[in-house]
Amino acid sequence: MSGKRYFEDVKVGVTHEFGAKTVTAEEIVSFASKYDPQPFHLDEEAARRSIFGGLAASGWHTAAMMMRMLVDEHVGESASLGSPGFDDLRWMKPVRPGDRLRVRSTCIDKRESTSKPFMGSCRFQVEVLNQKDEVVMSLISTGLVLKRPAAEG
């Protein structure tokens, strides 16, 4: 099947694993400088004295890297209408310079919109894993997806 992945094409219970992002210390500091300038995301010395025990990425940076991997995986395929948000996001393990991250995503349910007949919503259990197969972050994300237009076969 070519073309966009519409609401009808999303399969409940199916798991996809994808992505490969190695995060550098420079990227960690660059993101944190703009969006989360707390000392343990900026400076190795300060981070050593903190709960993190060493330089660690902002949790929001981990989330942003996850989003990039999601978009790259579904580029040109998804008839996405964005997301209303997410639930139960957990930052479970620090993400360190040199960590290699990937994403594992399972559709856990989907439902048609009652108010907007051209779309539906799908919920995904999404996990970000590192090279040691540890889950560093997880969340339940909701995506809004167009239904296949009547004109297409």
């Binding site: 703009k34 969006y35 989360d36 300038p37 707390q38 000392p39 343990f40 903190s50 709960i51 993190f52 902002s58 949790g59 929001w60 989330a63 942003a64 890297m65 989003m67 990039r68 978009v71 790259d72 580029v75 996405s80 209408l81 964005g82 997301s83 209303p84 948000g85 997410f86 639930d87 139960d88 996001l89 957990r90 930052w91 969340l139």
Partner: protein
């Protein structure tokens, strides 16, 4: 010792801080690295899209909110990160020129079960634009160093 420790937060307390004016350049730069969907990247293409113009990635709105939290109080506190976000909703698009600020309400506080030097604070956050519309809401927990580690049970409020 930081100015604001776990003991200094009170259930029901509200804090307001910010603001940040969002630029088109910031929107495109973040989207290029983290959320390269067309409506976050290309002003012309975005005009024909569902959102009717260039909008910030929701993850960037979360990032702006975090920056305002850090500048607003976290970097004066004994913050030690966060175990996570119970719930986040993106309610309204954020467009170039929007000016954002944050309104926070402390919901509950509790001592850590595992780390005597840490306490947790759960808060709800609203990110507002210049029209006082709520563009994003979030409920999340922050970890803070305690001025008095392993203190008495009566310092614990809410669910333990």
């Amino acid at each position: 010792m930081a100015e604001l420790c776990w003991e200094d937060f009170e259930t029901g307390q509200t804090l307001e801080y910010g603001g940040h004016t969002v630029t088109k350049e910031e929107i495109v730069e973040f989207a290029r690295d983290f959320d390269p969907q067309i409506f976050h990247l290309d002003e012309e293409a975005a005009k024909d899209h569902f959102f009717g113009g260039l909008i910030a990635s929701g993850w960037q709105t979360a990032g702006f909110t975090m920056r305002m939290m850090v500048d607003g109080f976290l970097n004066r506190s004994s913050s030690q990160g966060s175990p996570g976000v119970a719930e986040l909703r993106w309610l309204k698009p954020v467009r170039p020129g929007d000016r954002l600020r944050v309104r926070q309400t402390v919901l509950s506080k509790r001592a850590s079960q595992t780390r005597p030097a840490i306490g947790l604070i759960e808060s709800s956050f609203e990110t507002l634009n210049q029209r006082d519309e709520v563009v994003m809401t979030m409920r999340s927990t922050g970890m803070f160093g305690r001025r008095h580690p392993g203190g008495s049970a009566e310092e614990t409020e809410g669910r333990s």
